[in-house]
Amino acid sequence: MKIFINDKLIHVEEGTTILEAAKLLDIKIPTLCHLHLHDIKFINKQASCRVCVVDVEGYDQLLPACATPCKEGMKVSTDSYRAIQARRTIVELLLSDHPNSCLTCAMNLDCELQQLAHDLGIRRIHYEGETHKEPIDNNSYSIIRDPNKCILCKRCETMCTEIQTVGALTDIGRGFFTTVGSAFNRPMNETTCTFCGQCLAVCPTGALTEVNNIKRVWQAISQDKYVVVQTAPAVRVALGEEFGLPAGTPITGKMVTALKRLGFKQVFDTDFAADLTIMEEATEFVNRVKSGGKLPILTSCCPSWVNFMEQQFPDMLDIPSSCKSPHEMFGALTKSYYCEKTGLKPEDVVVVSIMPCVAKKYESRRAELEGADGHRDVDYVITTRELAIMIKETGINFLDLHDSDFDNPMGESTGAGVIFGASGGVIEATLRTAYHMITGDELADTQMEFQSLRGLKGIKTASVTIMDRVFNIAVAHGLGNARKLLEGIKSGEYEVDAIEIMACPGGCIGGAGQPYHHGNMEILEQRIAGIYSEDRSKHKRRSHQNEYVQLLYRDFLGEPGSEKAIDLLHTHYTPRPRL
């Protein structure tokens, strides 16, 4: 059908919205609540903010472009005086009930409302009056909820309920005092929230943000502590975005230099612990296969996923691998192996994790991960965004930094450790090593890239034949897909031997601690590409080939699955059914 937008003719298919048609014509209509993440089937079409209203011939009303389907012969004006004035008024109204604390807001310069006010040239708010004065929920270790900054776009609710199927967030109250909250307005840590943080990854304002741990890290560095830092695989393909580089640009060397400049005594790599995780997990898998144990085995690197399972599938807690997540393994080893090697006292050592994730903040405080003497494997977790702030705060000119290598003995990693950062990576890395453990041979370089387990498809499957036995593998990312997969396993729809699950779209590269993607899913694709190109650039790409991991087993742990390894590197799960 044909329609006219600002007198320009365009042919569109039935069902196309005015907003989509305008995009084809390169006409920008400002939006706020609208968000469409095609790749993960996320669509927030509330048409509630009314910022995208346009003039359509024959209508007294101004219509929301995001949710109005085109009709044959429609004449749309996106820039009429009436439409522009109405948009300005609507943004003014939103601002009239918004704290004007932009300068100190966590979303400063990332806020879509701020950007909108800037683009529309709002200089004065004509309608001022009562504002929200709700208490801020900072009870959890991961997420801060400030209802006063909420503009009720409901992106968080759509994400939490439809994509993640968690349903922790919904609108409560009525009229002017409507806000997004939880059932009975309980704090997030008392809800079904898994702390995946995808709500804050799509929040256009500062209503949902991460708990900030920067100050604690600075304090640890400035005190007489031996502060050790580790960085997750997904951080290195996204940190550059905070300094204007395209997503996926490899900046690992610069990142290490920056961390050294910040004052960390040792800069280690979580990828090392990822290789170690593979050794433990592949051993567990092979043992279960050989001894006829419980299959499928589920990966357990994702704390949000573990939380989801404990709450929603408490009857299936015998399936997941008992492995701690890599950064927790790293923390446990730092305070045992590394201290033993260097003569440091564990109580003098502080472990900081730089993660793409906000759930890791919660994970580091899990009761199950508390050491016998009360110390924690990991002391502080900060996100990729928080690290960027620390770098900027110190005045380091990140782009001009030279490259440095990670410190050893816990900085060496293989390509298998790197791909942990993308959905499908953990299981691919496991297969590379499990193949070796079962057959004694190595998968050829051409065979060890499992393309069907990569990418942004919700549920991915593959079959691998090892010594005449067919292994069915499944990968899910996003908790909604995970639920589908688990229910499919219960019902017998899926018969699989090993499963990888990550709570965030695309895996850790799409984590809630990463630089904001602002709805641009290409950024996730570029980060994924960055991860796999780093894998390919490594000359060792199988975890069991990591010499420092081998050294660790030789000097300290014995062998994979040994008593010491179980004690330090494995954990257990607790059913936590919630309302």
Binding site: Q46, Q61, L62, A67, T89, S96, T170, D171, G175, F176
Partner: protein, 525 residues
């Protein structure tokens, strides 16, 4: 049950009914097959939707049948469904819930879609302040609503109906429950109705009192068990309504009109009322009027006739100032426009709407700024909070009105009121938001002087806005000190038997001095 048995019940019960009614001959006028209520106020009325109210016993299905009830359904079942739609279309019955959309066209649209399931929904979530038209029908004649729904179900091919009724109407709920049970027992609902292949069931859904749930899509969300918030208007409900299926949603009064139209024919109905607005309309006539109550009049009657001839005029010989129609979504019509005809088009032309039938009469003691504030307070309270213009815009409008009535307004506020009202009307998501500034816009239009006085002179001519009142003691003061004794803030001074004075800077405008002065020595400005 078949039509023959139905006729038997009718004939037998008719005489029973007459016998009962004859016990109170002064109340009823019994004609040839017709019964009406006696009384001066009923002379100018024509009761179609309310035809049985106050006459039949709502808890006895036999009495409804006696007055011809369920015969429209019985006869319709002998014909094609499209005949029903044709009659309703020809009669030009327009929705009585407010917007006035032609019911026949709605039914036709829903009938057009072929799906496994369709729904008929009765909107009985009456929520306008002071309106109780639907309530009286539900309580007094529930079977007409059931019959209307069954007819709609037959016409569009639906086998399931829902009545969404407020839980605050316990008597209506009880009467509906009884009526549904009786209709099922008589094979007038359920499977194979009257021996035909038509199945139709009705379920009740109780609303929790949110006004916005009267909006059709919010109502459907609520039936589905979700938070009652309007949907985005991407599809008509006749295409995708309840549970995504084609749905006809009609209000109680609309459905009550269906059986008589099918019984007496489209032509009969079309001859009542005006050309574009056929039939009658029920109004809840309230406010400053001698005889308030429910009235049902042919469309096109003037406001004057309703207020003065049926309502008996304004009490205490006061002058009428305006009439507010359409509830919180409607507008105020000033007294000089009282010859406006009450039909969909004429009311809209003067800046108001028909709405569901609230009619509030105001006299010279009513302040129009305060009236606008009252209705807006209601809308602000009842906004669901989904879209920005309604959630925040209405709140800001209300705050401006509050400032005006407290004497804190400025003349520039009047421009703000108008501009903001227009944006809210043009950009809100649902009917509630789109119409909520109507009381403001219509009073601004017709009573601008009153607004200006509030903003500029800090004066309320009706004496309603207490904060704007100025009290002064005149020469009649005898120095009795009664005012001094009653003043809660001690702002009156003066010696005994001498004239007293009020310190205007301390006065809180409570009016105690005025009330207690024995010699009328206190002037109010």
């Amino acid at each position: 049950m078949n039509i023959k048995e139905l006729t038997q019940i009718r004939e037998q019960q008719w005489w029973e009914l007459i016998k009962r009614l004859n016990e109170e001959p002064f109340k009823y006028h019994i004609g040839d097959g017709e019964i009406s209520l006696k009384g001066e106020e009923f002379k100018l009325q024509q009761r179609i939707a309310l035809r049985n109210i106050g006459i039949i016993n709502p808890n006895k299905i036999e009495e409804y049948i006696a007055t011809g009830g369920y015969f429209a359904l019985a006869r319709a079942l002998e014909n094609e469904p499209k005949e029903v739609i044709k009659t309703i279309k020809d009669a030009n019955l327009r929705g009585r819930g407010g917007a006035g959309f032609p019911a026949g066209r709605k039914w036709e649209a829903a009938a057009y879609h072929e799906t496994d399931e369709k729904y008929v929904v009765c909107n009985a979530d009456e929520g306008d302040p002071g309106a109780y038209m639907d309530r009286s029908i539900l309580e007094g004649d529930p079977h007409t609503v059931l019959e209307g729904m069954a007819l709609c179900g037959y016409a569009i091919g639906a086998s399931k109906g829902y009545i969404y009724v407020r839980a605050e109407y316990p008597k209506a709920v009880a009467s509906l429950i009884t009526a549904i049970e009786q209709a099922k027992a008589h094979n007038l609902l359920g499977n194979h109705i009257l021996g035909s292949d038509f199945h139709f069931d009705i379920e009740l859904r109780l609303g929790a009192g949110a006004f916005v749930c009267g909006e059709s899509t919010a109502l459907m969300e609520s039936i589905e068990g979700k938070r009652g918030m309007p949907r985005n208007k991407e599809f008509r409900t006749t295409e995708r309504g309840l549970w995504g299926k084609p749905t006809v949603i009609n209000n109680v009064e609309t459905l009550a009109n269906i059986p008589p139209i099918l019984t007496k024919g489209a032509q009969w109905f079309k001859e009542i009322g005006t050309e574009k607005s056929s039939g009658t309309k029920v109004f809840a006539l309230v406010g400053k009027v001698q005889k308030p109550g429910l009235v049902e009049v042919p469309m096109g009657m003037s406001i004057y006739d309703i207020v003065y001839l049926i309502g008996g005029g304004i009490p205490k010989g006061k002058k009428a100032k305006a009439v507010q129609t359409g509830g919180p979504s409607g507008g105020c019509i000033p007294s000089h426009l009282f010859d406006t005809k009450v039909d969909f088009e004429s009311l809209e032309a003067v800046g108001s709407i028909m709405g569901s039938g609230g009619m509030v009469v105001m006299d010279e003691n009513d302040c129009m700024v305060d009236i606008a504030k009252f209705f807006l307070e209601f809308s602000v309270d009842e906004s669901c909070g989904k879209c920005t213009p309604c959630r925040i815009g209405n709140k800001r409008l209300l705050e401006i009105l509050q400032r005006l009535t407290l004497g804190e307004g400025e003349i520039s506020d009047l421009t703000k009121l108008e501009n903001l009202s227009r944006v809210i009307c043009q950009t809100s998501l649902c009917g509630l938001g789109q119409s909520s500034p109507n009381p403001v816009l219509s009073t601004l239009n017709y009573f601008y002087d009153e607004y200006k006085e509030h903003a500029q002179d800090k004066h309320c001519r009706s004496g309603v806005c207490k904060a704007l009142l100025r009290y002064e003691i005149n020469d009649r003061c005898v120095g009795c000190t009664r005012c001094v004794q009653h003043c809660p803030v001690d702002c009156i001074s003066g010696s005994i038997r001498e004239r007293h004075y009020i310190d205007a800077t301390e006065c809180i405008h409570c009016g105690e001095c005025f009330k207690n002065c024995p010699v009328n020595a206190i002037d109010v400005f």
